[in-house]
């Protein structure tokens, strides 16, 4: 099975405290640690496991700039067979639809049986996979938390729905699936693995290569624009207990007793 995984490099929220910059119009981007969007990493792992069982190859693509190459190399160190950087000045300022349009251009120049994305990025909204599928007229499923390859060009999948329930479906190939975290246990990538792919040439394709009209992507094609970031004033917030851990523990026990939760 030929699998494409669409990935993004995002600020890593487990490594950074995301906060406003001093101008209040963006997040503070100095010293941010970036990494691959977490659900995208699960998608790559899932693709690698499918290929290990059923054969084929895994290609990882990202829409971005030279800086984003680091996640492509990381995923190749994980085991992806190839990666591509979709990059062009015309892609700057893409909204979700713009990203999906660029990816469609790449998918149409190739032949993939299965396209995976992560379910969502921290700074976006669970949208690119569904849009890409609709553009390609492929079937789509979101929040996928298991994949089984069936005979006859179809998959059996489950989606994570409410209350820990799993919605089971059959889906025809080619299709687009958005992958939920927890579907597998992504393998560890060591420095040695990264070094081994450090000098691999990563092909780059721009708007012309993908047959895209620059007006349909980037800033020019974006329907959705972010004016600014802010931190809303929400209610009174928690009463913060101060003091040594010991003092705080005493206060907390009294408070919990008062609620009746602690006997």
């Amino acid at each position: 099975m030929e699998i494409l995984v669409c990935a993004r490099r995002v600020p890593d929220t487990s490594e950074n405290e995301i906060q406003l910059n001093s101008a209040g119009n963006d997040i503070e981007r100095d010293d941010l640690v970036y990494s691959i969007n977490e659900p995208d990493n699960y998608a790559v792992e899932e693709a690698l496991q499918i290929v290990a069982r059923s054969g084929g190859s895994v290609t990882v693509a990202t829409v971005g700039t030279d800086e984003d190459e680091e996640i492509l190399r990381r995923e190749m160190a994980m085991g992806a067979n190839a990666s591509v950087l979709l990059s062009d000045d015309a892609f700057n300022g893409c909204d979700g639809k713009g990203i999906a349009t660029v990816l469609r251009g790449f998918v149409q120049k190739n032949k993939f049986d299965l396209v995976l994305t992560g379910v969502q990025a921290e700074d976006a909204g669970a949208q690119v996979g569904g849009m890409l599928a609709a553009m390609l007229d492929y079937p789509f499923a979101s929040l996928v938390n298991s994949i089984e390859v069936l005979d006859g060009n179809k998959l059996k999948i489950s989606r994570e729905i409410e209350g820990g329930n799993r919605e089971m479906s059959e889906i025809d190939l080619p299709c687009v699936l958005s992958i939920q975290t927890g579907i597998n246990e992504p393998r560890y990538v060591g420095m040695r693995g990264i070094r081994q792919v450090a000098s691999v040439e990563i092909p780059t394709y721009g708007a012309a290569d993908l047959g895209l009209d620059p007006k349909t992507v980037g800033e020019a094609g974006a329907n959705l624009k972010r004016d600014d970031y802010f931190v809303p004033a929400l209610g009174k917030g928690a009463e913060i207990l101060e003091g040594s851990n010991e003092e705080i523990a005493d206060k907390l026990i009294e408070l919990m007793k008062a609620t009746g939760g602690l006997q």
Partner: protein, 328 residues
């Protein structure tokens, strides 16, 4: 402002979801003078009762009855909606597991813009819809503007819009079933698997010690277990702990996990995403323990402790044991 506003109604076993009234409230935020239309999809056996119920809120209800829609398969419903929704409309969809499936692709099929997971609406400015989204797990919010010149699909976060108290209306139900044509499914629903019975039922506990990403590693769970034992509580968790396979799914609090209603909820190293908080009901006394003072959990907690949970939990456990000895 002339764009027509539609709201997709989620219902289950004949019961209309809370999001129906919330989408009506969101439509009124877009345009106070709007006369939004509800869209109800289902089998002929169930759809009429749902339409009647929804028509008490919405002035107009479009009914789509088809026995091929016995299960709400977004792949089929998207095709149906693309055939009947007029160009240039604004379509509101709940941002739940169904809306995430339906909305983005629907925007492409309608040649409309898409805004995901909207938590606030500031109205219309020219050809733009001004809305508010949260990013980075709620750490920051963003003002966004969406060009609605060719319409928009807007996925609305459940719980974000409060329905207004309004007298019931007598909305009209319009049967659109004949207009959807033949639907072809390249994705076919098979069944729903419910989780196996768990060793511990967190939904029945009065006190939960709940751990998140801040627990750091699996071995640290024993620290939480020790505190839980002292408190007569059990350990629950947020999504990252389940993703890491440190605790089973049955211990997860949140929209995709369990809905709990304890008296006391200790959120330890949990940032407080809306998906997590959606699983917390019954107005518990929430104690947030987190070393990041900006964590969104502090906005909703009753009491906050800004400290390293791994150091604090053993000290609290010890104090609780002492306190219990005194009482005994």
């Amino acid at each position: 402002m002339t764009a027509r506003i539609f709201a997709y109604i989620v219902h289950k076993a004949g019961v209309v979801d809370d999001t129906a009234a919330e989408l009506f409230a969101a439509a009124k935020k877009i345009d106070a003078a709007a006369s939004p239309t509800a869209i109800v999809v289902g089998t002929s056996a169930e759809v009429d009762a749902v339409c009647t119920s929804v028509a008490a809120t919405f002035p107009e209800v479009w009914k789509i009855a088809s026995d091929s829609l016995a299960y709400p398969n977004a792949e089929l419903i998207r095709q149906a909606l693309a055939k009947i929704i007029p160009q240039g409309s604004i379509v509101l969809v709940p941002h739940n597991h169904f809306g995430i499936d339906l909305g983005p692709g629907l925007s492409i099929k309608l040649n409309a813009a898409f805004v995901s997971d909207v938590v606030g609406i500031d109205g219309i400015d020219g050809s733009y819809l001004k809305a508010v989204r949260q990013e980075f797990g709620g750490a920051v919010s963003a003002h966004v503007r969406c060009n609605i010149a060719s319409g928009a699909v807007v996925n609305v976060r459940p719980g974000a819009f409060k329905p207004a108290d309004a007298a019931p209306v007598a909305g009209t139900v319009v049967d659109k079933s004949a207009e959807i044509g033949t639907l072809t499914a390249k994705r076919r629903y098979l069944t729903t698997i419910v989780p196996e019975a768990a060793d511990v039922d967190i939904t029945k506990e009065a006190v939960l010690v709940s751990v998140g990403r801040g627990i750091g590693e699996k071995d640290n769970l024993s620290i939480a277990e020790e505190l839980a034992e002292a408190l007569g509580a059990v350990v629950s968790c947020s999504r990252p702990v389940v993703d890491a396979k440190w605790l089973p799914k049955s211990r997860q609090v949140g929209s995709s996990g369990q809905t709990v209603k304890p008296k006391v909820y200790l959120a330890c190293g949990i940032s407080g995403s809306f998906q997590h908080l959606a699983g917390l009901k019954g107005n518990p006394f929430i104690v947030a323990i987190n070393k990041n003072p900006k964590a969104p959990i502090f906005q909703v907690a009753d009491v906050g402790i800004v400290t390293d949970m791994l150091e604090f939990m053993p000290e609290l456990a010890e104090k609780v044991r002492e306190a219990k000895k005194v009482t005994a």
